[in-house]
């Protein structure tokens, strides 16, 4: 009796292995599931798990997000869409349960895409920002957990909409402030420039000439083009010292 059982078990294993060798259906990610359930599932249960921005490896798509965050406590929203189809011809015939996670974010989002009809669901993850003005990367992963396993990935580089830098100006009569505005859905951006004692801005700069300047408070509000790099010269009181007492913030 025991021998019979062992023979049955062995035969079953061989069949399994044979089936595995025979099977070429679908992506490797869910071959195991096919085998575990039933080989014929590949023919009967069509499975498509796709996204607008995420892709199945190995090439991970990269996207830019331009964001103007005021503190490191801010979060940046990243929205992706999950679909259960590749096209109108290629629609999953079964419901797909999935989870979405993002690097740097504890927890995630879980959901189910129903089967048989094309469906899609937008998922938004609010990812913590890095220090102000420091670009950071977020990898978003959407995993179909059942009936088959498939992982989609995308990388999002969150870049500050506004960044600035003061040159090394020790020994120079002027300090050069470079303001960079990345591309943005908005063509223009209001920025607020504040400067401390020790230097004065170039009042012949066309951006400054169009700005609202408060010389008492040492501030100016300027509307600048996005997708741009501006240089603003500050005339220093003392060329021998390095001047950097300037802040540039996005203004509402």
């Amino acid at each position: 009796m025991k021998k019979k059982k062992r023979k049955k078990s062995l035969a079953f294993t061989i069949i399994i292995i044979g089936l595995v060798l025979l099977s070429g259906a679908g992506a490797a990610g869910y071959i195991y599931s096919v085998l575990l359930n039933h080989y014929k599932a590949t023919a009967e249960n069509r499975f498509y798990f796709t996204s607008d921005l995420l892709r199945e490896g190995p090439d991970v798509p990269v996207y830019d997000i331009y964001y103007d965050w005021a503190s490191s406590d801010d979060t940046v929203p990243i929205t992706i869409e999950l679909r259960n189809s590749e096209s109108a011809l290629n629609v999953s015939s079964v419901a797909i349960s999935y989870t979405v996670k993002a690097s740097g974010l504890s927890g995630g989002h879980a959901g189910i895409l129903p089967g048989n009809t094309a469906s899609r669901e937008a998922v938004t993850l609010n990812v913590p920002c890095a220090a102000i003005g420091q670009p950071f990367e977020v990898t978003v992963t959407a995993t179909a957990d059942s009936p088959y396993r498939k992982t989609l990935t995308g990388k999002f580089v969150v870049r500050p909409l506004l960044s600035y830098a003061m040159d090394d100006n020790q020994g120079s009569p002027v300090a050069r402030l470079t303001i960079t505005l990345t591309g943005s859905p908005e063509p223009e951006k209001d920025v607020l420039i504040s400067w401390g004692e020790g230097a004065e801005p170039d009042m012949t700069n066309p951006a400054v000439m169009s700005a609202s300047v408060d010389l008492e408070q040492n501030t100016m509000r300027i509307r600048l083009n996005t997708a741009s790099v501006y240089e603003l010269v500050f005339f220093k009181d003392d060329p021998s010292v390095s001047y950097s007492d300037v802040t540039v913030l996005g203004a509402d």
Partner: protein, 1065 residues
């Protein structure tokens, strides 16, 4: 007949009186007049308590008489207020200002003397005392108020009628030591032999103020007669006189005041009539010892015997200052001292503007002052357009005779006389301390007859004449000494840094600068022709140089001709052997009968002559009448020397190197003495293309060639030759004869004293005074201050034209920093403007593609907009409804994937020939259709963020986007277990978006698939019902296979795949 106030006589009078009664009963009096004064006296005022809020009211002549009676009885009304309620009709008047009655009622003056004076406040309320009649030629202190003491106030009053009195007579007050303001007099004032008569006040004491009063009637008095006050010790301000002030036999007559005593001030007054008197007659004051400022004598006629002037006849006592006055008209005197401003003047006349005819008969006649008396006296900053005529004596455009200083004056017109001293500025500049400085003369100076001295600046000078310019002709008569600057300059005199360009003509001794000089003539230029007709002496610089003469560093280019034997020379006609002549250059022709030389007409003492050069044109006479003087180049031709070499020689004064001669670039480099040294002397300059914020950061800069909308930087090191007002300095560009117009939008940054300043031009400008620069970070303008002589300062200017439309004209410009008079010296930096780079952008439409044609029409030169930049095109789209549309993420622009939804995409110039738009990979592609495409070219430093750069050109096109296509393929084999002997396998295939399907057969080895040779990308024919039959190669071994179906679009792009496993048994 109507009386002055329009009263009706006859039957209507009762009605009118009744109406007046009604008005009075109703306390309505604003536009009414009192009944004709009966000559009686009321028992009191019409009302009031005398306080400021409840003044005593006067409504009738009787009440006014009561008031007079009350003052005469000893009531001073000090601290009390009296007010008219209506016009007071004392006597009926005719419209011509005469009385209707042959025997008008005489009114008793208010206040009879110091002991019976009015000290209160009288308010006329704007009403008029009509028909005031006073005829007391034997009694002093006559007027409506006989005596208004210290602290009294009389205001807002009008008076008409006639007042005749003895001493101290005026229409409003015979004597006033208080305030009279806002009063108008049409009251004739007359006197016979007594003094102090005025249209408002006969005598105004030291505490008096007469303000904003007007006199239209004539004033006739004896000594001290004035349109406002006969004599004033106080203040007269903003008063106007249009009546005549006349008396042909007595002294001190003035349009405003007969005499303005020490401590007095007349300001802002206007006299428009005529003033006639004997001595000390003036358009404003007959004589003054106080100040006169901002007064106008308009179209005035002033005439007298002596001391006659457009503003004042003469001065007495303390130093008088006349400031900012204007005179037009005619001033005439039968005797001495007649001037457009003053006849005889000791003090300061400054900033006056005169347009007068001055007629003198003898003595001293001047366009401004007949006689400027004393070495401390000055005439400065005046402009005079004059016609000065004199029968004899001294005549000058500014002064007949001056013992003081005349500076900064501009004289035009004609100065003429018949003998003695005739000068464009001064007839005779008398005394070694006399000076004429920085004057400009463009008038005609002519001696009509006789003998004497005629000069463009001075007929005769004992003192200093420096930095003066004469452009008009100077003409002498028979025996005159004639000079472009001075007819005769005596021993010890000095003429320096002067220029004459007019024709100098005479029969006596004639010189381009001085007819005769026994003093110093140095650093002068004559460019006018010098003609010594008949038998005189003629020299390009000096006609006759006496024993004390020193003629040096001077230049002549005028033609010198002479007909006599006295000596005809390019520099000096006749030179005394003791005179010195050196470092001169003659470039004019010289022509004469005998004693002719290109330097001197006679022989020079070789000990006293060196470095004198002449232009040896064909036929030029030798250096002297006896030949050239080779020793120390005493009188030699230029010969083969270059002008540069001559320049060096002329700046070498017997071994001492001087800095007097400069090459004239507009005259082939011929050296000329710098006669008007600029305050601003640039000792070092540099120029750079682009913006440089500090010379120390920039190194040496020697050239700038730029486009018209570019930027450049210049720096200067300046050494001030003289004291200089720094804010008055001017920054400008000049193209030679014409200054460049800096377009609107030009910005200039200035670095001075370690501070940065700026200016943004809102309108075109040819020059920028440094005082208009604003300090960076503030609203304060450049304060500058005054730089002392020899001060050295550095400046940096950054000129930014990038915000202009490029209107600065093509050319090469000197970039000048000058003093307030537009002068500077030294080598200035130059900038060359070559034109404007222009761009033409054409965007070409297409379907899922577009292209850009970008043509650059460029000129040479630095272009700040494009330097170190690349051309990048910003591409944006709008929907058919005009709404902005974002480029969707995933769009491929020439295979570059857009990683976010953005309004702009950027294409580099080199990629712009054909730009393919592919949205097939977009998660959310644009809907199919037509979009307006906007392409803007930028010069920027980055490909991806060029929008901070300069936009150059714009083009539009239509971009047609095809409808997004969904691609898909599905393939299933009904029977996936194929017998190895079978030749084919059947698939059921569905496609979306395209139908071009290819298959690849792969065999499985372990966990991988490998393409089967010869079975790759084989076209698949799909038959009816979507059935496609694929042939298997013969001898296909048993095993697991996979068929990969690929769907291609019409362009051959792979769009979708499907795969199906089969098992060959």
């Amino acid at each position: 007949m109507r009386n002055k106030s329009g009263k009706i006589k006859g039957p209507g009078r009762l009605v009118a009186l009744a109406l007046i009664g009604l008005i009075l009963a109703g306390n309505i009096s604003a536009a009414a007049a009192s009944p004709l004064w009966t000559g009686g006296t009321a028992a009191g005022f019409a009302g009031g308590t005398g306080s400021e809020s409840d003044p005593y009211l006067i409504s009738t002549g009787e009440q006014l008489a009561y008031f007079s009676q009350s003052v005469a009885s000893g009531n001073t009304y000090a601290g009390q207020y009296i007010r008219l309620t209506q016009d007071i009709l004392l006597n009926n008047m005719n419209s011509d200002g005469t009385f209707a009655s042959g025997s008008p009622r005489a009114f008793p003056r208010i206040g009879t003397g110091a002991s019976r004076s009015f000290l209160g406040c009288f308010d006329g309320g704007g009403f008029e005392v009509i028909g005031l009649y006073i005829n007391q030629s034997g009694t002093a202190y006559q007027g409506l108020f006989g005596y208004a003491g210290t602290g009294s106030v009389i205001r807002d009053l009008r008076v008409c009628g006639s007042v005749a009195g003895a001493n101290y007579t005026g229409a409003v007050a015979g004597f006033s030591d208080g305030l009279i303001e806002n009063c108008v007099s049409t009251c004739r004032v007359t006197a016979n032999w007594q003094d102090y008569h005025g249209g408002i006040a006969g005598y105004a004491g030291a505490n008096s103020v007469i303000n904003n009063c007007r006199v239209t009637a004539s004033v006739e008095g004896d000594t001290y007669t004035g349109g406002i006050a006969g004599y004033t010790e106080g203040r007269v301000a903003a008063c106007t006189v249009s009546g005549a002030v006349s008396n042909g036999w007595s002294d001190y007559h003035g349009g405003i005041a007969g005499f303005a005593a020490a401590g007095s001030r007349i300001s802002g007054c206007t006299a428009e009539g005529s003033v006639t008197g004997a001595n000390s007659v003036g358009g404003i004051a007959g004589c003054a010892a106080g100040a006169i400022d901002d007064c106008t004598a308009a179209a005035i006629t002033v005439s007298g015997q002596t001391k006659v002037g457009g503003v004042l006849g003469g001065t007495e006592g303390s130093v008088v200052v006349v400031t900012n006055c204007r005179v037009s008209g005619t001033v005439s005197a039968n005797g001495d001292y007649v001037g457009g401003v003053a006849g005889r003047f000791a003090g300061i006349i400054e900033n006056c503007n005169i347009t007068v005819t001055v007629n003198g008969s003898c003595g001293y006649s001047g366009g401004i002052a007949g006689f400027l008396e004393g070495v401390e006296s000055k005439i400065t900053g005046c402009t005079a357009a004059v016609t000065v005529r004199n029968n004899s004596g001294s005549s000058g455009g500014a002064a007949g005779v001056s013992q003081g200083e005349i500076s900064g004056c501009i004289i035009s017109g004609t100065v003429s006389g018949k003998s003695n001293n005739i000068g464009g500025v001064v007839g005779y500049s008398a005394g070694a301390d006399s000076k004429v400085i920085l004057c400009t003369v463009s008038c005609t100076i002519i001696a009509e007859a006789g003998y004497g001295y005629v000069g463009g600046i001075a007929g005769h000078t004992d003192g200093v004449i420096t930095q003066c310019t004469v452009t008009g002709p100077v003409t002498g008569a028979d025996q005159h000494y004639v000079g472009g600057i001075a007819g005769n300059a005596t021993a010890g005199s000095e003429i320096s840094k002067c220029a004459s360009s007019g024709t100098i003509t005479g029969n006596g001794i004639v010189g381009g600068i001085a007819g005769a000089s026994d003093g110093t003539v140095t650093i002068c230029i004559n460019t006018g022709d010098v003609s010594g007709q008949k038998d005189g002496r003629a020299g390009g610089i000096v006609g006759k140089a006496g024993a004390g003469a020193d003629i040096s560093h001077s230049y002549n280019s005028g033609a010198v001709t002479g007909g006599g034997p006295g000596g005809i020379g390019g520099i000096v006609g006749y030179i005394d052997s003791a005179a010195v002549i050196h470092n001169n250059l003659n470039k004019g022709t010289v022509d004469g009968n005998q004693y002719v030389g290109s330097i001197t007409g006679n022989t020079v003492n070789t000990e006293n002559a060196w470095n004198n050069y002449y232009w040896d044109y064909p036929g030029a006479p030798a250096g002297t009448n006896t030949g050239d003087v080779q020793e120390e180049d005493g009188a030699v031709p230029v010969g083969d020397l270059t002008w540069d070499e001559i320049w060096d020689l002329l700046n070498n004064d017997r071994g001492e190197i001087v800095d007097i001669w400069e090459p004239d670039v507009d005259d082939d480099g011929v050296p000329k003495p710098t006669i008007m040294p600029a305050r601003v002397k640039v000792t070092q300059a540099a120029v750079w293309e682009g913006k440089r914020y500090a010379p120390s950061e920039s190194g040496s800069g020697t050239e700038a060639v730029i486009t018209a909308d570019s930027a450049f930087t210049v720096s200067y090191t300046v050494k001030y030759a003289e004291e200089c007002e720094l804010t008055a300095q001017v920054f400008r560009l000049t193209g030679g004869e014409q200054d460049a117009v800096l377009p609107a939008g030009t910005s200039v940054i200035m670095l001075a004293d370690g501070q940065y300043y700026y200016i943004n031009l809102a309108a075109p400008a040819t020059e920028i005074p440094l005082g208009s620069f604003i300090r960076m970070g503030s609203s304060d303008t450049y304060a500058g201050g005054t730089a002392a002589a020899d001060t050295v300062k550095d400046y940096l200017f950054i000129v930014d034209l990038t915000k202009t439309a490029g209107e600065l004209a093509v050319g090469t410009y000197q970039v000048l920093l000058t003093d307030g008079e537009g002068k500077s010296s030294g080598t200035m930096p130059e900038v060359t403007v070559t034109g404007l780079n222009t761009y033409a952008l054409v965007a070409l439409s297409g379907t899922n593609t577009f292209s850009v044609s970008f043509n650059k029409n460029t000129v040479s030169g630095y272009d700040a907009k494009t330097a170190d930049s690349a051309f990048v095109f910003e591409v944006s789209i709008k929907a058919a409804d005009g709404g902005s549309v974002l480029w969707p993420m995933g769009t491929r622009i020439n295979n570059q994937v857009l990683t976010a939804d953005l309004p702009f995409v950027f294409v580099r110039e080199e990629d712009a020939g054909s730009i393919r738009i592919d949205m097939s990979g977009c998660p959310n592609p644009l809907a199919g259709g037509s979009y307006t495409l906007y392409v803007k070219a930028y010069a920027g430093t980055t490909d991806t963020s060029p929008r901070g750069g300069y936009p150059l050109s714009l083009g539009t096109a239509v971009l047609t986007v095809t409808e997004p296509v969904e691609y898909g393929i599905r393939a299933e084999a009904p029977n996936r277990f194929i017998d190895a002997a079978a030749a084919s396998v059947e698939f059921r295939i569905q496609t979306l978006g395209a139908s071009n399907v290819k298959s690849t057969l792969q065999r499985k080895y372990g966990f991988t698939y490998q393409d089967v040779a010869g079975e790759i990308d084989k076209p698949v024919y799909i038959g009816s019902g979507g059935i496609a039959t694929l042939s298997l190669p013969s001898g296909t071994p048993k095993g697991t296979y996979r068929v990969v179906f690929s769907l291609y679009d019409d362009s051959g792009n792979l769009r979708a795949t499907a795969q199906q496993n089969i098992i060959v048994k």
